[in-house]
């Protein structure tokens, strides 16, 4: 299964910054994504993780610094350009069209055609079949692929977005908190997929709040703090415990845990 080429750098950011009006959401972020590696980006709420991936995905244009893909300096002005360079993204705030059916959403922007010339038409049958297969692989149960996406549960929608990105991911796969809305089983499936994508030689950026999930698959860890990179370390140089603590508030949670368990114990005593 290991078809790894040497870890060439596919994508790199150097001193990249982004302003939204008076908010300087990212400042001097440097990062690199290598083939066959998973780079985990962690950080507090509002740290700038989504902003970072939106730049790579071409949804926003960075205001400072240099973005390099395959050694070539780029500045994406549309997601199409990013997609065309083989970068597939799962957005945190999803990117599904609620009124469209599941299979149309799955293939949106990358529709399969059959026939040729002016008679080329959507290969509906195959698209439905593939969508069904891919979703089944992810272990979610969607009985009617013609239903509009808007009628699905949050997790089901997330699964479609992930399945799509993985199916179409060519060189780089970006996932922004893909497991947030997912159940234990589905999270597991997603992690497995992410690992598989890496093994197939893709570069992966994986954003998550869950250090356990991150440590389970990551090769490289970057922690963002208020728009700055506060930690950048490879797996070999960091332990899970250290990682958890490096994330803002790690220590606080520990204290809380103590406190809560005391309360819970007390409550249990009263109520039982």
């Amino acid at each position: 299964m290991n078809t790894l080429t040497p870890n060439t750098e596919i994508l790199s950011l150097k001193d990249v910054g982004k302003r939204y009006g008076n908010v300087h959401a990212l400042r001097g972020v440097s990062l690199s994504v290598r083939q066959g590696e998973i780079t985990c980006v962690l950080g507090d709420n509002g740290a700038g993780k989504s902003t970072l991936i939106k730049i790579i995905a071409g949804l926003h244009t960075h205001t400072d610094g240099v973005l390099t893909v395959n050694g070539e300096e780029v500045s994406f002005s549309s997601p199409r350009e990013s997609l065309d360079r083989g970068i597939a993204t799962v957005y945190q705030d999803l990117a599904l069209v609620p009124l469209m059916s599941i299979w149309r959403n799955f293939f949106l922007g990358q529709e399969l055609l059959t026939g040729w010339g002016p008679f080329a038409r959507l290969d509906v049958k195959r698209m439905i079949q593939i969508t069904g297969e891919e979703l089944t692989k992810m272990g979610i149960s969607v009985p009617d692929l013609d239903r509009p996406v808007g009628a699905l549960s949050g997790g089901q929608r997330q699964c479609i977005a992930i399945a799509r990105a993985i199916y179409f991911g060519a060189k780089v796969l970006i996932l922004d908190e893909p497991t947030a809305a997912l159940g234990v089983k589905q999270s597991g499936v997603v992690l497995k997929y992410v690992a598989k994508a890496r093994d197939a030689g893709l570069g992966v950026i994986f954003i998550t709040h869950n250090p356990h999930h991150a440590y389970l698959v990551g090769n490289h860890f970057v922690i963002l703090n208020r728009g700055n990179v506060s930690l950048d370390s490879s797996r070999a140089d960091i332990s899970l415990d250290r990682l958890t603590n490096e994330m803002a508030g790690g220590a606080e949670l520990e204290a809380l845990s103590h406190e809560l368990s005391a309360v819970t114990a007390a409550t249990n005593a009263t109520s039982n």
């Binding site: 008076n22 490096e246 508030g249």
Partner: protein, 366 residues
């Protein structure tokens, strides 16, 4: 309990962790160094109406240059009056638009109000003021009907009010015809109460060349609407009902009542303008008002209201109406070829909104 166990082991771990904690915790609300305080000018520029204000000023200056007539006080009052007849309706239409809905029947509803007042008073030989009250009831009822049908069916307000637009147009014509035998309202100039009603709805203040009372109505409406929007509970509900009705409903905002109220607000201003038209022009053609709804919507949109709801201001709508007044009259004052005036109007409209946009983008960049 995984997390707890682990926590026990690592409490107060590395210095990095605790540094982060102090940094993020506590009174973080004021501590984020990523945010530069917005300069006052940019705060001002981010108001919905500012773009259109600048557009209005630019157009006004343009016409002051090309149309010397506009520099006289009398012309200014003509422009203001002309703006006010759009502006009175634009206020309520803007509120409705902020609340996420349209009213295409707004133009003909004005005529319905005028016709009701005159026909009612005339046919039943009552004091004109009774007709005025009857018109108020009917105008509010039209708003209520629109709102009720909208809420009951959940159909887009565009289609509901398009239906009532046609129905009112038909009723204006048909009822007037049946009642008075013609297509214009009966003459009520000689009826009891006409003079006092006229004195109220078509008063001319002895300011300069004569300041007509709709201008005052308009001002008062703008002030009241602005107050409602920014400083009352209902104002909050209007923004929420337009911005995201599902979310608003979920947190307990009475979305349906708010929207019905907004439709009735349009009814109210239609009544006010209808009464002015009736008493200023003594009689009303039953075909009047058709097409004016578009001008009200234009004023609101040019003034910065979002067509999709949830954003806008009453002052903006007033400025939009002013732009309309300046342009339509300015073209005449400039003595430009009448054949081209729609072309100018269209170009001005686009220019005003583009200026609006540029200003907003500038504001966002600061």
């Amino acid at each position: 309990m995984e997390i707890r166990t682990k926590a026990g082991g690592d409490a107060g771990a590395g210095p990095a962790a605790s540094a982060a904690t102090t940094h993020a915790g506590g009174k973080a609300t004021s501590a984020d160094d990523r945010v530069s305080t917005r300069p006052l000018v940019s705060v001002i520029l981010s108001r919905p109406e500012i773009g259109s204000l600048i557009g209005a000023v630019a157009l006004f200056v343009l016409f002051l240059v090309v149309a010397p007539t506009l520099r006289s006080g009398a012309s200014l009052f003509t422009v203001l009056y002309s703006s006010s007849t759009i502006g009175i309706m634009a206020v309520s239409v803007a509120l409705l638009m902020i609340g996420g809905e349209f009213d295409l029947s707004a133009g003909v509803a004005v005529t319905t109000a005028s016709l009701t007042a005159s026909t009612f008073a005339f046919q039943l030989h009552l004091n004109v003021w009774v007709g005025v009250l009857a018109a108020l009831v009917v105008a509010l009822a039209v708003g209520l009907f629109n709102g009720w049908l909208f809420v009951r069916t959940g159909l887009p307000s565009f289609i509901i009010t398009l239906g009532s637009f046609f129905m009112l147009t038909g009723l204006n014509l048909g009822v007037t015809k049946v009642v008075s035998g013609g297509v214009s309202s009966p003459t009520i100039t000689d009826m009891a109460g006409f003079d006092s009603a006229k004195a109220f709805f078509n008063y001319t203040l002895p300011v300069g060349n004569g300041l007509r009372v709709p201008i005052l109505f308009w001002l008062v409406l703008v002030v009241v609407a602005t107050w409602i929007l920014l400083r009352t509970r209902v104002g909050n509900w209007i923004f929420a009902s337009g911005g995201d009705p599902v979310a608003a409903r979920a947190v307990g905002v009475p979305v349906r009542k708010t929207k019905i109220g907004l439709f009735m607000g349009v009814g109210f201003t239609a009544w006010l303008l209808g009464m002015h038209n009736l008493f200023a022009y003594s009689n009303v053609q039953s075909g009047n008002g058709v097409g004016n709804e578009l001008y009200y919507i234009i004023a609101a949109v040019v003034g910065g209201c979002l067509m999709t709801g949830g954003y806008g201001s009453a002052i903006g709508a007033a400025i939009g109406a002013l732009i309309y007044g300046v342009v339509t009259n300015g073209i005449v004052y400039a003595g430009w070829q009448a054949d081209w005036n729609k072309l100018f109007l269209g170009a001005m409209l686009v220019i005003a909104t583009v200026v609006n946009l540029v200003v907003k983008n500038q504001a966002a960049k600061r």
